[in-house]
């Protein structure tokens, strides 16, 4: 069952620049297990959208199938949602985006939904640089079908029943970098201070933004020996930098020593501030990102933060040169050439 939250609003709840309170960004009450990482990610999405003063109806939220893919029901109740079929959210998001380039597309998927059944569509959405935020709620298992290993489960990770995963795990971040993704980040459901600004930056990005969020499954994959448990992730996490998001027009006030900090201006005029950077690290350098990722892997670290961004990225519409207006707003006058032109076309077939 799905429960509708009681719509009690405190009159004094603060409103953002577009006149909405934070509750306006919430969804129905979650039916996920208490403590599920996915719910925390939903919370971060709500916070990011509220703080960014996004009008909720300007967002289209889409997902595949899985516990993770249920979450769009649990945030942004004033947004249209599309819970599609298993592994196929990217194509639906592609079509939606082709129809109206002006909306914000937020796709949510699971590691099973993305790295197994949906791998093909995921890869091709990256390749086309579809303008969307793609969040993988990555728990290393199939939550909804009761805990089978997923393709992102690390080799050697121990399941709840004690079996050891014999196969190599797929690193979606490394793969996305290799595929030419223009915004690649990893985070942890339990680290809101990092995840919220990452979501904001991703929403400001023009092109495909991947955030692979480690999101423990408390019911099936939170045991000792699992490399996707809360404890394991906390112990092995290694943040690339501290991250701040500065909206458009707001002046950047905090300043850091050059060398240890970078400001990256994003497509919409906002910027991400990264500080306490590892030496010589620049998130605009794809090659450096790939080798840093390999290094972390070798050292058993889970690298998080903004791994790579291309602030000059061109999205699908720019690539295929489609009209600046949303295609779904075009009318007969724009689209139908009329009977006169058809008479000429007919003549070419005589």
């Amino acid at each position: 069952m799905t429960y509708i939250k009681p719509k009690f609003r405190h009159p004094d709840l603060p409103k953002n620049a577009v006149g909405f309170t934070k509750t306006d960004y919430e969804g129905v009450i979650s039916t996920l297990c208490a403590g599920c990482g996915h719910d925390s990610i939903s919370g971060s999405i709500v916070q990011a959208c509220y703080e960014m003063s996004i009008e909720p109806h300007r967002v289209a939220k889409l997902s595949g199938i899985g516990c993770s893919s249920k979450t769009p029901n649990y945030f942004l109740n004033n947004s249209h949602g599309f819970n599609s079929v298993h592994g196929r959210m990217p194509s639906v998001a592609t079509g939606a985006n082709m129809a109206n380039r002006d909306l914000i597309y937020l796709g949510v998927s699971g590691d099973g939904d993305t790295a197994s059944i949906g791998m093909g569509q995921f890869v091709h959405a990256i390749r086309r640089n579809l303008n969307m935020l793609y969040i993988v709620m990555n728990n290393g298992c199939y939550g909804l079908t009761k805990g089978q290993d997923s393709a992102t489960a690390d080799a050697g990770s121990v399941s709840k029943s004690g079996s050891v995963n014999p196969f190599e795990g797929i690193d979606l971040v490394g793969m996305a970098l290799e595929l030419g993704a223009t915004f690649v980040a990893r985070s942890f459901s339990g680290d809101k201070t990092q995840l919220v600004p990452l979501i904001k930056a991703a929403l400001s990005h023009n092109g495909f933004a991947l955030i692979d969020v480690l999101s423990p499954c408390v019911t099936f994959n939170n045991n000792v020996g699992s490399t996707k448990s809360y404890d394991y992730v906390r112990d092995h996490i290694e943040a690339l930098a501290e991250i701040g998001y500065v909206p458009e027009k707001e002046e950047i006030t905090v300043s850091y020593d050059s060398g240890s900090s970078v400001d990256v201006e994003l497509h919409d005029g906002s910027s991400v501030q990264l500080h306490k950077l590892a030496e010589g690290w620049d998130p605009r350098d794809r090659q450096a990102a790939m080798s840093r990722l390999q290094q972390a892997k070798a050292e058993g670290e889970i690298l998080t933060g903004l791994v790579y961004v291309d602030p000059d990225s061109k999205d699908l519409h720019e690539i295929i040169k489609s009209d600046k207006r949303p295609l779904n707003s075009l009318k007969e006058e724009d689209l139908c050439p009329g009977a006169g032109v058809l008479a000429m076309i007919n003549d070419e077939f005589r």
Partner: protein
């Protein structure tokens, strides 16, 4: 030997090697007939291969306007040694075999009852041209000229076609005319001409055009206002999306900015192609895809989602020979059951079945209106014969007064008005009692009208429910919508003002040409009169059931093994199967009038005994 004779009633078959540029020469021949005002139909019989294998092109000239394929070749133009044996064998006694006699014909290829007309095509080319590619291409024009002289085709007509063909490369006009005339001259100097079998100018084609169904569908999608297409290449549907792209590039590009009022993406597979179509339609654009059997198989899961979540979509299935990868370059009507009931669970889909290019255009335009009106996928069922062969067709027609029917979509004002009346928006509420709910598009209103589209069981407000009774109610409403569909789909066509016989026949799609000819044959040669109905859509209009009711026996003519259309009739209308007699063809070639006539006559003979 009695030579075949006659005017404007013949079949010419060209035996070529694919990849040798014969297609355009053959097409010029066919268009010459058309421009002399004589009805003709042309079929490409080609291999699933790019270069080197045999390919045939068959032109039927028919004063009576019969546009189906006819059994038996009167004139064979063979320039392919690979297939020569079977080509010689396929000529009717008294017919003509045209070949390149630069080298002598082997005695194995000699038949007593066939006229041989040798033309030294290579020899002439060697004399006229030095470049190897030119020799190859102009060889084709030599046989066009030879045929023109033999059949009495007006040379000015052929020259006009050559001029049109090379409008953009005028330098090529002269040498092509020269090659064609070399063929003419050779015949004039060496053979009696024209043959007893020949053509003569008529005024029988009116304002008709010659076009393939895929192109007509592609243009139809432009006129229908499709702005999004996702697709994956597959024969025989590829040229449909290519036509859409071509005409969009011509008609939908801003000359100043170069920006396009269309977005076309070649998807990674057919699942993604259909996913794109769904996403775009959900978001208020008109979107479509085209595919063939294997692609339709892949789209099943999404088709079920579209049906259940009630999302408009337009899909063209250009059917080819199955099962499996089957005969990719041959025709069949064998995806009917797959399309009608695609996806698991109780799922059914609306099918539109055009039977000629002009109807392809119309049905594409209708499909987008119907998809949005009914909020469900509309599958346009064509086939390789219709899609890839050029047909003599009524011109494409568009009424400038026509408006797109965008279906039941609430605007922001509607939503405000609704809440002013104290009503809540319910995505799946049957407000009007016709089974069709109202939808809203993303970003319509800041606080009203949002909902969660899902393939899971849902209530009238699109909320997840595990209440089986509620789910059954939704399924029942979908049935109601199905009944509404029956009323608004294209009507079947009846070929008699009122029924005249206790026997009827039902056919659809490209079978129509042959079926109409078969009706004449049965009447003239067997003394059998039948009533005829052409189906154009599924689910069936009430008049389909009435037609079946009114006859003791119905022949159901279709191009598949399992009589799939008959199954649809039995399944949906609860017809006694014994009443429906199968007449089938599934060899991959378009069905012929003879096959239908024989099938029907044999059955009637058998029950007489």
């Amino acid at each position: 030997m009695r030579n075949l004779t006659g005017v404007n009633d013949l079949v010419v078959r060209f035996a070529n090697v694919n990849g040798t540029g014969s297609a355009s020469a053959n097409n010029m021949f066919a268009m010459s007939i058309f421009r002399m005002g004589i009805p003709m139909t042309a079929k490409n019989i080609f291999p699933s291969n790019i270069q080197g294998l045999p390919t045939w092109y068959e032109v039927r000239v028919s004063e009576k306007g019969y546009l189906g394929r006819r059994e038996g070749v009167d004139i064979m133009l063979c320039v392919n040694p690979q297939s020569m044996k079977q080509d010689v064998a396929s000529v009717k006694p008294g017919g003509y075999f045209l070949y390149d006699n630069t080298k002598n014909l082997h005695k194995d290829f000699i038949r007593e009852d066939v006229n041989y007309i040798g033309i030294p095509m290579i020899g002439i080319c060697m004399r006229l041209y030095s470049d190897a590619r030119q020799r190859q291409l102009f060889k084709n024009m030599i046989y066009v000229g030879a045929l023109a002289a033999l059949l009495d085709i007006e040379l000015e007509v052929v020259k006009g076609i050559i001029a049109d063909e090379f409008k953009k490369k005028p330098k090529l006009i002269e040498p092509n005319v020269q090659a064609m005339m070399a063929g003419v001259t050779y015949i004039k100097e060496n053979y009696e001409h024209p043959l007893g079998l020949r053509v003569e100018r008529r005024d029988l084609v009116g304002d008709a055009i010659v076009i393939d169904g895929n192109t007509a569908c592609g243009i139809g999608a432009v006129y229908a206002g499709a702005t999004v297409a996702g697709w994956y290449p597959i024969t025989p549907s590829t040229s449909l999306v290519e036509a859409f792209a071509k005409y969009s590039n011509r008609l939908r590009v801003d000359p100043e900015t170069g920006l396009k009022k269309v977005a076309i993406v070649q998807a990674e597979d057919e699942l993604a192609a259909f996913g794109m179509v769904l996403g775009a339609n959900w978001n208020g654009a008109r979107a479509f895809t085209a595919t063939s059997g294997p692609g339709l198989s892949l789209m099943n899961e999404f088709l079920g989602l579209a049906y259940f979540a009630e999302i408009p979509a337009v899909l063209v299935d250009v059917q080819r020979g199955g099962p499996s990868t089957g005969m990719p370059t041959r025709t069949q009507q064998s995806d009917l059951l797959l399309a009608a009931y695609a996806s698991h669970g109780d799922t059914k889909h609306v099918l539109l079945i055009p039977s000629n290019p002009s109807e392809c255009f119309d049905f594409m335009a209708d499909a987008f209106d119907l998809a949005e009106r009914l909020q469900t996928p509309i599958i346009v069922m064509t086939d390789l014969d219709l899609g890839m062969n050029e047909h003599l067709s009524a011109p494409l027609k568009w009424d400038d007064a026509r408006r797109y029917d965008r279906g039941k979509v609430y605007t922001a004002e509607d939503l405000d008005a609704l809440s002013a009346m104290g009503k809540q928006f319910g995505r799946y509420l049957d407000v009007d009692g016709d089974g069709i709910p109202y939808r809203t598009l993303p970003a319509t209103h800041p606080t009203k009208g949002s909902f969660f589209t899902r393939g899971t069981s849902h209530d009238e407000y699109a909320r997840y429910t595990e209440d089986g009774v509620k789910n059954a109610q939704v399924l029942d409403r979908l049935t109601k919508k199905w009944d509404t569909a029956k009323e608004i789909l294209p009507l079947p066509e009846f070929y008699q003002a009122q029924n005249e016989s206790n026997i009827g026949m039902i056919f659809f799609g490209t079978t129509t040409y042959a079926a109409l000819e078969a009706i004449d044959l049965l009447k003239q040669e067997e003394g059998i009169t039948l009533d005829a109905m052409r189906a154009t859509a599924f689910p069936f209009h009430a008049s389909v059931e009435a037609f079946i009711e009114a006859h003791d026996q119905i022949f159901v003519i279709e191009q598949n093994r399992d009589a799939q259309f008959r199954t649809l009739l039995i399944n949906e209308l609860e017809i006694n199967p014994k009443k429906l007699i199968k007449v089938l063809n599934y060899d991959g070639m378009p069905i012929t009038a003879d096959a239908i006539r024989n099938g029907i006559a044999k059955h009637l003979e058998a029950i007489k005994l």
